[in-house]
Symmetry: C2
Subunit: 93 residues, 2 copies
């Protein structure tokens, strides 16, 4: 029913579902640094912990805490650092 | 690393992790009515969709939407109706 996705040897794990108007996942990341690629525009909201991200072309890293949303452009790669376990909800639009 | 929990034939699925100060899960529920039992106090925040719940002793159902948190006492059973897919984060304290 709900597909489980696993990345980076299980250090990032998510569950796929549908909202009223788009595909979505809820997920968790263990402490670490990761690089992700997008295919669609993503609205990623932290629900616990802290994610620090670096978008292509940016010099600076930016941190997002609970209830903060980053908007990620389609077809890019970006870096994420998770401090301890962090959780998120991601909407694909 | 992160344990996947599955209930009601996969209609409810969650990922277990740790916040700074407690155990937690993020999860998804398909459309349906469910009864859950608690062992600890739970702080359940809806992250998408809508959950309508009935606590023991209450006559009325109460609905929770995104960013709304229900506090659930330990050692009780309570009923939850999900309209379509809903997602949540739950903290166990």
């Amino acid at each position: 029913m709900f597909k489980t996705n696993e990345y980076f040897g299980g250090k990032v794990k998510s569950l796929a579902f549908k909202t009223k108007d788009c595909s979505a996942t809820v997920g968790v990341m263990a402490q670490g640094e990761y690089e992700f690629g997008t295919t669609s525009k993503e609205f990623l909201t932290v629900t616990s912990g802290k994610l620090t991200v670096k978008m292509p072309g940016d010099d600076a890293w930016k941190s997002y805490g609970p209830n903060e949303t980053m908007i990620i452009e389609p077809n890019i790669k970006f870096k994420v650092v998770s401090e301890g376990d962090s959780s998120y909800i991601c909407l694909y639009k």
